[in-house]
Point group: C2
Chain length 410, copies 2
């Protein structure tokens, strides 16, 4: 690996801007929902660029796209990079697209310099990462990693009753290959952080050690609705008053369970919601996250025990509904170290970081050693038209990707 | 005053049921909004009963109705009782109507026994107490006590643009008398409690010492909306998390400021209200009540100071909007004592109580010595079709009214 070999930041930026114009929105974002005509146009544009960069294109039955660059020993499993180019309804130009086009830029540089790696390289475009038009999210990588059954994914319907299967075929991306019948030596994905940490710390690169797991719950507190005037404090069964200590305890769990601990109450309904009526019912959401599976479980148990204790203490009813458990992803140690080494070698300011949001890399990490590279995004804002990132940061992230792909395929 | 003279509980109950059928609802309540055709029918029915009981009817320009029973010395200001017969949209049969019909029942008993008091007696029906169709509430007694300007009240419009003035005239209740040009010696009003205290304490009569004042506010807490996953706890500006201690402090004010202290947060909006988004904005209502004007002011000041301290401590913005101040009403000592004495004399279980809700008696207390008599209502429920009260309790309350009216006019 030579630090004299670097990607062309302007070319990367121009490709990002050109792709972003397909489905471009007023405030400078993009709207290209998965498997729509606009997504198709985006895929055609990028596939053309991939062919120009010397890649051989193939599809699997999930509509995942692979651009392959041969190595010296093509019996080796390819070193893969990739991401997605479908967007949120009011999405930005960088979420996903940056990962795909940084990978493309690496391929372009290698072609420019006629470099041949030992193992082959591949650039993947995963179908329907956003999960907006078709649920679940991260569908293409989920099917590829055998985490989501292919039949299940192809049968998913949009609001108009169209299926993923129909739309993959209609767009011409239904390949012969069975998803996952495709070896992966290792996988690296570059992405904007979608959070505020790198910007706050003035670091250029985030060396991603994993993706937080989640425990999602709803808690319902039932007291007794009553008039605010005539009802003395001592005989009230105020569902809000008795929810406050529990909410406080639950939010504190985010601070007392390591750097990766998160606790969020994003939805609160206080009913009946009249100024002069003591609330009889409070419903709130609980979102607990941690990188450590055991600690995450501990947080969830503490939340449930706190609810049970509140019920015991107050005589009101505290009902906890478990909604969803998402297991944490811990990236492969050697891959993380390789990203770290590339940052040091390039002299980029960097830090270890965890991802709070899910990425295709989570699923791929189940079948191949994986890690991710983050770059800052402006004000930590993503899933928004005004999502933005600095060209120099995008260039730096792509250089780190170049280095780790070369090292991994050397 | 003789305990051998008592009201006829069955006659009172039957009158309540008959009036309740005008605008009767499915679940046994009544819907007679102020100055509607149904309210008119109710007024005609009760005025007929008042005439039958020997009362002389007059109206003022506010549509307030007075039924006068002469005394031995008609130069004396009348001893007055009364309440209202307009209802909530889904109102009960007892709120207001009980006060009017208990007064009527007293008049009937006095006629039955040919009793002549020294001072004259009057039964008032106040216009538009509920304030549903026309705002403000307690309009008739408010105008009568010179607390609300007559012009202002007559100009109030309903949703269809009809004015109070037009409707008072259309219903034939627009009298010559200037509201308030009508002396009142003292005033007693009997009412269902509209709260749970008497029932909880198994007491028949509430000797009402006053009506709580109110301070109504809105508090808006502004933090920073952010994604729940990527944003570490340490750099969050979670508007909900930082609202919880303030809400807790405010609710505690209700417990630390005397028996009549009340603190209620009935409305809470947590925005943007997404499960995986840290709330950037929390808005909540504050309703503080107390019988003591100075203490109520102290509660309001403590709430504001707590908000200012939270802003200082957290760096988030805490904005307090004062919405309304309602001054507490403290009833006249001698009147309260007279009600108390009547309960003792009758052997009714009783207790001192404060009213959390406003009543016509609040306004009348500004111009004449006043007190109120409460009876229990089932489960403390009022302003509801299922509002209910026990015939024996209604009878007891009317007997207390009989005793105090006789004593006051003796």
């Amino acid at each position: 690996m030579s630090n004299t070999l670097s990607i062309d930041g302007a070319r990367l930026w121009n490709s990002l801007m050109e792709l972003g114009e397909i489905g471009g929105t007023e405030k400078g974002g993009s709207r290209r929902l998965a498997l729509t005509e606009l997504d198709h146009q985006g895929r055609e544009l990028v596939c053309g660029w991939m062919r120009d960069a010397g890649l051989t294109i193939s599809f699997d039955r999930m509509g995942n796209i692979f651009g392959r660059r041969p190595g010296r020993d093509n019996s080796l499993a390819p070193v893969m990079t990739g991401s997605h180019i479908d967007t949120q309804p009011s999405g930005g130009k960088f979420d996903g697209c940056y990962g795909v086009l940084a990978g493309l830029e690496v391929m372009r540089v290698l072609k420019d310099h006629a470099i041949v790696t030992t193992a082959p390289l591949e650039l993947a475009i995963w179908t329907n990462e956003e999960g907006v038009r078709f649920v679940p999210t991260m569908m293409g990588s989920g099917v590829f990693s055998k985490s989501i059954p292919l039949d299940h994914a192809l049968a998913a319907t949009d609001a108009n009753g169209l299926t993923v299967g129909d739309e993959v075929k209609a767009r011409g991306f239904f390949g012969d290959e069975e998803p996952g019948q495709h070896p992966v030596g290792s996988y690296y994905e570059v992405h904007i952080e979608q959070g505020p940490v790198l910007e706050a710390n003035e670091n250029t690169i985030g060396v991603v050690t994993g993706v937080l797991g989640q425990r999602l719950m709803n808690i319902t507190v039932t007291g007794q609705e009553a008039h605010a005037g005539p009802t003395p404090m001592a005989i009230r069964k105020d569902a809000l008053q008795h929810s406050l200590p529990l909410m406080t305890e639950i939010l504190a769990l985010g601070r007392s369970h390591g750097d990766s601990g998160r606790a969020t109450i994003g939805q609160v309904a206080v009913l009946p919601g009249a100024r002069n009526t003591i609330p009889g019912l409070v419903k709130f959401s609980v979102d607990l996250r941690n990188l450590d599976r055991t600690v995450l479980e501990e947080m969830a148990n503490k939340a449930k025990m706190a609810a049970a204790a509140a019920q015991e203490r107050t005589g009101l009813t505290f009902e906890v509904d478990d909604l969803q458990t998402i297991t944490p992803t811990v990236f492969h140690y050697a891959n993380v170290e390789m990203v770290d080494a590339a940052c040091k070698s390039r002299g980029y300011s960097h830090q270890r970081i965890v991802s709070g949001a899910g990425h295709d890399a989570c699923f791929i990490s189940r079948i191949a050693p994986t890690s991710m590279i983050f770059v800052p995004c402006k004000d930590g804002i993503s899933h928004n038209e005004i999502e933005d990132a600095a060209p120099t940061d995008l260039e730096a992230g792509a250089n780190v990707l170049l280095d780790v792909l070369l090292r991994a395929s050397a």
